[in-house]
């Protein structure tokens, strides 16, 4: 039975975590641990893939006598689980490859090695869990392990703070989910997913549960306004872990939402769809705007994860809306789009974080303002990162475009929706999605242009060199996957068919039937796209032109100083920086959303000291929700703290008053 095998492998992961704890300080530990996790995750990927594309096998289940005593730990492997297992383990495998090289530069490996396999194992367990207790248990194991990885660089107070905020948000999410499960399980505590599926409950119960689920999974996935921990925590971890957290762990959160909202609760209301849709739209645009304001490469990437989560949730919201109105085809399309984007984002976000990790190893810099010109010193990394940027900007012929294209197609189906609320919101969300796509391109032009192009802005960037072969290998594997998923999307869509079949009882038409490997989600006459042809056309046109021009034109290339309108050899400081590049967009959007303010202080004429530029960007969510909350708790704590310093007489009077009060109650008690 596959699930048993899978569990055994996951157990192997935990075992290697234990091994790592014992032997973390040995020099060989690095390669052993990462090698082990590489092998295990690869096998897991293979198993899950075979489960996904294999023949229609009934979901295999397994009950272990652990966990909640009278329930046991239930595990289940179905299409949905299989797909997400692929996503998780693929990302984990490549992260292990990357870490084989990246880990060498780790100063305190004993703080990383034990937790990396545990983290991966935890994510696997979440996906396999088939009862509320096991689910939450694994969920928190995942959170704890990643927390430990976030605080690896614990000497920097920023990181411990990030870890703290992360852990708080994670626990908040877990408690929300706990309440949701309590509600779903009912008074007699049927915590098994099977029981929850069977149970019938009032619509308002379902509504509350769904709201709690959105809170719980949203806080893990980084939905605005629950995203605040994400851009702090993800960059703090070592880069291969950042890749896992951003590319994979957020997907586990998405899995949690899909599992509960579609599979366990089922029969959604259109209101739910509306809420999720709106949250997704807002998240997408705010996320990319946040990202545009950053100049720390890894933080920019982390913020951008928020945007992609938004896109995914737009798809999920549409799916809910369609399903609520019994439009199975639309639901299938939207869900497929969302899941496709899950896969895509896990690919290119891992790629980009690997790239940032490579930059980090080569230069020790995360701040773009001190980078630049790396394309000359690390050409391979530069190429891989370029592909990642192109893919994440949703540009054909790469994979990012396909999933967004599918989402657009789903949006274009939505006028059939009967509810007015949806009819008003959906096009607005479509606009938001388009906006976020355009802004994403801007964001990554900035990221790439400042980091890799131009001239070095600092000595570290000037002295950088290409990274080792493991890191390169991991990045190029992802490049290949991005390209593959982009040019033959039909394969992925067909692989997703059983999932959408399982969740919404309908699947997109088999794309393998469509000619020339192109995809047509509804009908070829309506809309179709062929990544392969587009890719070939562009490649062919480019090469042909290049060749033709070579024949016609003079081949000579003379190198000289940059023209720059007659100011050659200006110092690298005259280049555009990250903040100056974003300045127009900051002025257009940021002033509204973030109260962004640029302040320039000019030295008086004749004084030799430098002019200062500062750009202040405030996070409205933090200022609006979290800061007041923290302040309130702090104030209350301070106020109550006086109770520590009372005198014995006062404590006695507390006792006395309580006694008198209770007696009075009794005296008045009928």
């Amino acid at each position: 039975m596959p699930v048993g095998v899978v569990l055994a492998l996951v157990a192997g992961l935990f075992a290697s975590a234990v091994v790592a704890t014992c032997a973390a300080r040995r020099p060989a530990a690095q390669s052993i641990v990462y090698g082990l996790s590489l092998v295990v995750t690869l096998v897991l990927t293979g198993l899950a893939l075979s489960e996904l594309v294999g023949v229609e096998a009934p979901a295999s289940t397994l009950v272990l006598p652990v966990g909640l005593p009278w329930l046991g730990a239930h595990f289940r492997m179905d299409a949905l689980a299989a797909f997400f297992l692929v996503v998780v383990n693929l990302g984990a495998a490549l992260a292990s490859v990357f870490a084989l090289g990246y880990g060498r530069h780790e100063s305190e490996p004993q703080r990383v090695l034990p937790f990396f396999p545990a983290f991966v194992g935890g994510m696997n367990l979440v996906i396999l869990a088939d009862d509320a207790f096991t689910f939450l248990l694994s969920w928190e194991v995942m959170s704890l392990a990643s927390w430990a990885l976030v605080v690896v660089r614990h000497r920097d107070a920023e990181n411990t703070r990030a870890g703290f905020i992360y852990l708080m948000m994670a626990s908040f999410g877990t408690l929300a989910l706990l309440l949701a499960f309590g509600l779903l399980a009912g008074a007699d505590g049927g915590y098994g997913f099977a029981a929850i599926r069977e149970a019938v409950r009032e619509p308002e119960t379902t509504a509350i549960a769904l709201a709690l689920v959105i809170l719980g999974t949203g806080s893990k996935a980084g939905l605005v306004p629950l995203h605040v921990w994400l851009p702090l925590a993800h960059p703090a971890a070592p880069s291969h872990v950042s890749a896992l957290m951003s590319g994979v762990m957020t997907k586990v959160a998405v899995y949690g939402f899909v599992r509960i909202a579609f599979d366990l609760i089922g029969a959604p209301t259109w209101g739910a769809g509306l809420v999720v849709l709106t949250l997704g739209g807002v998240t997408a645009v705010l996320g990319v705007l946040y990202a545009l304001m950053q100049h720390d490469l890894k933080r920019l990437l982390a913020y951008h994860t928020v945007e992609n989560i938004g896109i995914i949730f737009i798809g999920l919201g549409l799916a809910l809306a369609f399903q609520a109105n019994g439009m199975a085809a639309g639901a299938a399309l939207a869900l497929t789009a969302a899941l496709f984007h899950v896969l895509n984002h896990s690919l290119f976000k891992s790629l980009l974080f690997f790239g940032s990790g490579a930059v980090l190893t080569a230069t020790g810099e995360r701040d773009m303002e001190r980078l630049g010109g790396l394309i000359h010193r690390m050409p391979l990394t530069a190429f891989a990162f370029l592909v990642g940027c192109f893919a994440i900007s949703a540009l054909p012929p790469l994979n990012g475009f396909v999933s967004e294209w599918l989402t657009f197609q789903a949006i274009l189906l939505s006028p059939e929706l009967p509810q007015w609320g949806l009819r008003i919101v959906v096009p607005a969300v479509g606009g938001l999605l388009a906006l976020s796509a355009a802004l994403a391109a801007a964001c990554f032009i900035k990221a790439y242009g400042i980091t890799f192009l131009g001239r070095p802005r600092g000595p570290a960037a000037a002295a950088a060199g290409e990274v080792d072969r493991f890191q390169i290998a991991a990045m190029f594997a992802l490049v290949a996957l991005c390209l593959g998923a982009g040019v033959v999307p039909g394969v992925v869509i067909d692989a997703l068919a059983p999932v959408s079949e399982q969740l919404v009882g309908h699947a997109l038409p088999a794309q393998s039937a469509v000619a020339w490997l192109s995809i047509a989600p509804i009908a070829e006459s309506r809309s179709s796209y062929n990544g392969l042809l587009v890719f070939l056309f562009i490649a062919a046109a480019a090469t042909l032109t290049a060749l033709g021009v070579r024949r016609l034109a003079s081949p000579g290339v003379r190198r000289g100083p940059a023209w720059d309108c007659g100011f050659p050899d200006a110092s690298p400081a005259t280049q555009y920086t990250a903040s100056s590049f974003a300045q127009p967009i900051r002025r257009v959007f940021g002033t509204v959303v973030f109260q962004a303010r640029d302040s320039v202080t000019m030295p008086p004429p004749g004084s030799m000291d430098a002019a200062r530029f500062a750009s202040i960007v405030r996070d409205p969510v933090w200022d609006g929700i979290y800061a007041p909350l923290a302040a309130a708790v702090g104030a209350l704590a301070t106020r109550m703290n006086h109770l520590q310093f009372l005198t014995i007489r006062r404590y006695l009077s507390l006792v006395f008053l309580l006694l008198v009060g209770l007696l009075t109650i009794l005296a008045l008690w009928p």
Binding site: P65, V141, M168, I648, L659, L666
Partner: protein, 479 residues
């Protein structure tokens, strides 16, 4: 074949007498371990042998056997810890061997008193035993003779005495309630007899009695606003005593309260004890959660955390029902193990850093990885994060409450989250960051700490079926 109950009571008593006379502290420490080991053995043998019929003074049933075994176990591991703890104390001349003689004797007296309180079938006897336990701990809290220690001991003493008085008044009232129904005299104080005939008692008298008992024993449990003695006693006493206080004495007092709750439950006209306990539990939880934030002394902080968890446990038992009661029992067990483990760690930390001030402790995972990571695991456990045992009980409490009383569950969750915030904030400062201040090499025995933690960990993942059946049985008993 000696009677295990008798052994369980006799061993500590004799040990106390012997230890009071033994000169060298090393020897007496070992003797202490041996005595507690014997107690543990006899307690465990209770599980094996068939139980004696409830007599006028002693009673063994499923409920108190849980407490007995737990007490004996934690008492044993704490004595092991204390053996390695006091060594350092003597080296640093904070304690003299005379003190230690007294200390060990009192330790055994405490064990005796707690065992007596647990197996007592007579509410008067139970009262006497609880008070004896309180007094012995009072004396040990003040053992360092510093201003703070005396302050704490004195506060504990006065508040404890008032608690004693209130509890006694409640006991008398119960007796008065029983008078008209039973023959009076001794068997009007035998718990089993009382429960049997409780339904005929005068409900109002019983309710008044419960109010006094709640306040009296609630003081020992450390429920807010009766808690005032607890944090200082934990902070200023020797750490083994803090461990025993948090791990055991609070449980014993809670056990007494539970007995009377069952008594009241048997009489349906009397005031329902549940809501009172729920209210006090939630108050303690929220109160302690906020108090955790401004702590400067690491031991006092964990004292407050004990208040928080006692609040949760009282809340669970107050809610009642099979799930909540089960959760309450589990939570109590897990809290005893975890909190004592934390105090084991904290004791050595305070020794190696030469201070209890949180501000002066940092970067423990760098300087003392074992202590540091041990503390991390302990705090993670006490904060109710999986995969450790307390998560399971909190899972059950919260989810079972939410279906019955959503608002209460929300308050509960809020409290848990706030407390978690405080604990994690402090934890981060203590174990991470660049090390500061002294960092003496640790001459610690990690066995008790990691034994407890591994128990908690395994319990979070796997509970052996017999244990579960047993707990479920007890939960049913509690109604």
């Amino acid at each position: 074949m000696i009677n295990p109950v008798a052994a369980m009571l006799a061993v500590p008593l004799c040990a106390a007498a012997i230890l009071a006379l033994l000169p060298g502290y090393r020897l007496s420490a070992r003797a202490n371990v041996v005595a507690t080991a014997l107690t543990l053995v006899s307690a465990l043998s209770l599980l094996a042998v068939e139980r004696p019929a409830p007599g006028p003074f002693l009673l063994i049933d499923d409920l108190n056997i849980v407490f007995v075994v737990l007490t004996a176990f934690v008492g044993f591991s704490t004595s092991v810890f204390s053996a390695s703890y006091i060594g350092h104390e003597v080296e640093t001349a904070r304690l003299t061997s005379v003190h230690l003689r007294f200390y060990h004797a009192m330790y055994q007296v405490l064990m005796f008193a707690m065992n007596l309180a647990l197996v007592a079938n007579n509410i008067g006897l139970m009262w006497v035993a609880v008070e004896l336990a309180t007094l012995s701990t009072v004396l040990m809290v003040g053992i360092y003779r510093t201003h703070e220690a005396l302050e704490a001991a004195w506060k504990y003493f006065i508040l404890g005495s008032v608690g004693i008085a209130l509890a006694l008044f409640g006991t008398i009232l119960v007796y008065m309630a029983a008078l008209p129904v039973t023959a009076g005299g001794l068997d009007a104080m035998v718990w089993t007899a009382l429960v049997a005939s409780a339904h005929e008692f005068d409900p109002l008298l019983l309710s008044v009695a419960f109010v006094f008992l709640l306040l009296g024993y609630g003081t020992k449990i450390g429920l807010a606003p009766l808690h005032a003695w607890l944090p200082d006693a934990h902070a200023e006493g020797p750490t083994p005593i803090s461990a025993v206080l948090s791990g055991l004495l609070l449980n014993v007092a809670l056990y007494a309260l539970l007995r009377f709750k069952m008594l009241l439950a048997a009489n349906e006209e009397a005031i329902a004890p549940g809501p009172l306990m729920v209210a006090m539990g939630l108050t303690s939880l929220l109160f302690a959660a906020f108090m955790l934030y401004r702590r400067r002394d690491i031991k006092r902080m964990f004292g407050y955390s004990s208040i928080e968890h006692m609040g949760i446990i009282t809340f669970a038992f107050g809610m009642g029902g099979p799930l909540a009661n089960f959760a309450g029992l589990l939570h109590m067990t897990m809290h005893s193990l975890t909190k004592s483990a934390i105090f084991f760690a904290v004791g050595h930390i305070a020794q190696v850093k030469g201070t209890q001030k949180l501000a002066d402790i940092s970067g423990l995972t760098v300087t003392h990885p074992w202590l540091g990571w041990g503390l991390v695991v302990g705090v993670v456990a006490i904060a109710g994060l999986p995969p450790l045992g307390i998560f399971m009980s909190e899972f059950l409490v919260v989810s079972s409450t939410f279906t019955r009383e959503p608002l209460l569950a929300l308050v509960l969750v809020a409290g848990i989250l706030i407390a978690l915030g405080a604990l994690m904030l402090r934890l981060g400062e203590v174990v991470f960051g660049a090390p500061r201040g002294r960092a003496d090499p640790a001459s610690a025995s990690y066995v008790p700490m990691f034994a407890h933690l591994s128990l908690v960990l395994s319990a979070g993942i796997y509970l052996p079926p017999p244990l579960v059946a047993w707990f479920q049985n007890v939960a049913r008993l509690l109604g």
